[in-house]
């Protein structure tokens, strides 16, 4: 059974450019969450999507946006890239949005490492 897949695995951009990262959740998982992890820090929550709607948003500027498609895959877009956006971007999927049947156990992909020059 395929796990959470993310693409691309690595990419290099320059300041001011735009980037799109993609995530395919585990089959049957309807919730996708995005995290940014800077070297040496814990993952920082960016967005959660469930059933194609935004269900949670972290403390990130409007340059960050995301969407979820009918097949539950998701894209994270970052506009006007800054040097500080260099990080590992993690996608996680889960079965449910909330704790209706236990807490939201997350399964993570391997991440997309973005370098902004």
């Amino acid at each position: 059974d395929a796990g959470v897949t993310q693409s691309p695995t690595h990419l290099i951009k320059t300041r001011g450019q735009q980037v799109t990262l993609r995530c395919s959740p585990i089959s049957g998982h309807k919730s996708v969450s995005w995290y940014q992890q800077v070297l040496g820090q814990g993952p920082q929550f960016i967005f959660q999507y469930y059933e194609k709607e935004e269900r949670g948003r972290g403390n990130f500027p409007d340059r960050f946006s995301a969407r979820q498609f009918p097949n539950y895959s998701s894209e994270l877009n970052v506009n006007a890239l800054l040097l500080g956006d260099s990080a590992l971007y993690l996608c996680a999927s889960s079965v449910a949005r909330d704790g209706s049947s236990g807490a939201n156990v997350l399964t993570f992909g391997a991440g997309s490492r973005l370098t902004v020059l």
Binding site: V4, S33, Y35, Q41, G42, P43, Q44, F45, Q48, R55, G56, G58, L88, L90, A92, R97, D98, G99, G102, A103, N104, V105, L106, T107, F108, G109, A110, G111, R113
Partner: protein, 107 residues
Amino acid sequence: LAKTTQPISMDSYEGQEVNITCSHNNIATNDYITWYQQFPSQGPRFIIQGYKTKVTNEVASLFIPADRKSSTLSLPRVSLSDTAVYYCLVGVRDMRFGAGTRLTVKP
């Protein structure tokens, strides 16, 4: 959202039992406690989850006191491959990570 506090780092030796405690004083009634393990350049991996008392699986145990204001992850007989960062998360959705505990296992 309940805030969590963990030790920044811990050292241990192979074969020892390691206990990592997480404080979550503002835990809500319906919050679960979940622990993840992360190796460098990989996504976090689920270890164990609990709501109250004690939970055990093939890799770890989770102890939760009656007031649920803290929890302790117990790793029996650690090996060098257990060197990683361990995160405690509390919540039902919008799972937010803290800084985690960097565990170093020495030979």
